[in-house]
Amino acid sequence: MAKPELKLVPTPSDADPSTDSPAQGEMPFALVQGEPVTQLPRDLYIPPQALEVFLEAFEGPLDLLLYLIRRQNLDILDIPLADITKQYMTYIELMQELQLELAGEYMLMAATLAEIKSRMLLPRSGDVISEEADPRADLVRRLQEYERFKQAAESIDQLPREERDTWAASAATDFRRPQSSLPQVALQEMILAFRDVVSRAAMFQHHHVQRERLSARARMTDVLAAVDGGAFLDFMQLFKPEEGRMGVTVTFVAILELMREGLIEIVQTEPYGPLHVRAAQTPHLRLVEGEPADNSTEKDS
């Protein structure tokens, strides 16, 4: 229970003791910390700074109503509607005075109470009454239903639970868990993935379709790897005569392409002297042509 301490809010002396004194004042209406309390609070005055806390402790209008009923130890089936409505309205007014943001649910409940009250004040003919339920019936049903789950929530909170009442027991394992093996990939899988990505891309990029030779691309990677260290490399070292004419051509095309993309630099210190290649050091080189999108003029239409 979240609110027992609030029953102990002292009645301030400036409150008028004659107001809001419920008719059930004679009977013991609550147990507070084990002590029977036989006197109702004189009114509903709560220090403003406490009210906000007080109201936040309620889970809604049903909860507030239940509190008002339980505080007087009343049977839920036998609500003194006039009193309860009055008290409820007093809380609503307090909330409004304090300009607390009043949840719509509270106002709805106030309206419901007012409606029930007015219906009960209206005289009705006997045959209508026999068909119509007591106007409080639906409210009582809702209150009872809510109270069941309020109690259920408390029961759940009492259940022994992990991390509060019990903990999982575990022991260390010294031996290594079996190393989960790295995923295996079949070449076919990768090719299928490429097929998919290519065809997918083709669907929204109709142009840019052009011929491409794989080997020059791969050779570009090889050349870049060879000059990876940043030092100059003899141009001739990039070529492998044993690859034959085609291989040499491919390497040459790759070098040209890398130069075009500004990825490598070729330096010749004197005319007809040896050529040296290194990875591009100067970012400003061929800045524009290196852009992927600049090749449109060279594309097939």
Binding site: Q144, F149, L159, W167, A169
Partner: protein
């Protein structure tokens, strides 16, 4: 396979796993040519549970299987292992959880109609993140609202084997039939009238 070996494998596996294990999961740990059957494992579990009788640990069956856990009577000492206090859950969260647990499957709107207040989305989020509740379907009404239900983790966390082990819901007090009095003008005695509630007594009093 000796009973002794079966017991030791069970104890070691439950402690190594640190979470509940079903009997068949336990069985699969044994070498194939010496695998005890379920009855043998159950016997060994019972024996192990008795051995723990006077210890700080206990063997417990929850929704996901058997686990070894700290006995509640040692919670005071063991909780000192962690300086921070265990999380306390708000009443709003517990009430929402209770409605989902006892009334599942249930929509947010149905929770609202019982609690009288809107369901706080953060509460549902927290319960989902804790894996205590999940969406179990959609109600076949306009908008197809989500139906919420509890999970196995929820049962494990609260040490329950099934949802039926939740504490029973309070029984709604039988309404006294006071129809004769209602024929009197109600306004004359508004404070003393008993209330007649129709058609609510056949309701379920426990979790489904």
């Amino acid at each position: 396979m000796s009973d002794h070996h079966i017991r030791n494998v069970i104890e070691a596996s439950l402690l190594a796993a640190g979470k509940p294990m079903s009997i068949s999961e336990i069985g699969e740990l044994f070498d194939e040519d010496g695998r005890p059957d379920k009855a043998q494992i159950q016997t060994a579990l019972d024996a192990l549970g008795s051995e723990y009788g006077d210890r700080g640990i206990e063997l417990r069956e929850t929704a996901s299987g058997w686990r070894i856990q700290i006995r509640q009577s040692y919670a005071r000492e063991i909780s000192r292992l962690w300086p921070e206090r265990p999380q306390k859950y708000s009443r709003a969260l517990l009430e929402t959880l209770a409605l989902i647990a006892y009334r599942q499957p249930i929509t947010r709107a149905e929770i609202e109609s019982v609690r009288g207040v809107a369901v706080n989305p953060n509460i549902v989020k927290t319960l989902m993140e804790r894996e205590w509740i999940r969406v179990v379907g959609h109600r076949d009404v306009p908008g197809h609202p989500e139906l919420l239900g509890t999970t196995r983790s929820f049962l494990d966390y609260f040490g329950l084997r099934t949802i039926d082990e939740l504490p029973p819901l309070a029984v709604i007090k039988q309404m006294i039939d006071l129809n004769p009095q209602l024929s009197l003008p109600v306004a004359e005695a508004p404070d003393t009238d008993a209330v007649v509630v129709a058609a609510d007594t056949g309701e379920d009093d426990g979790p489904a």
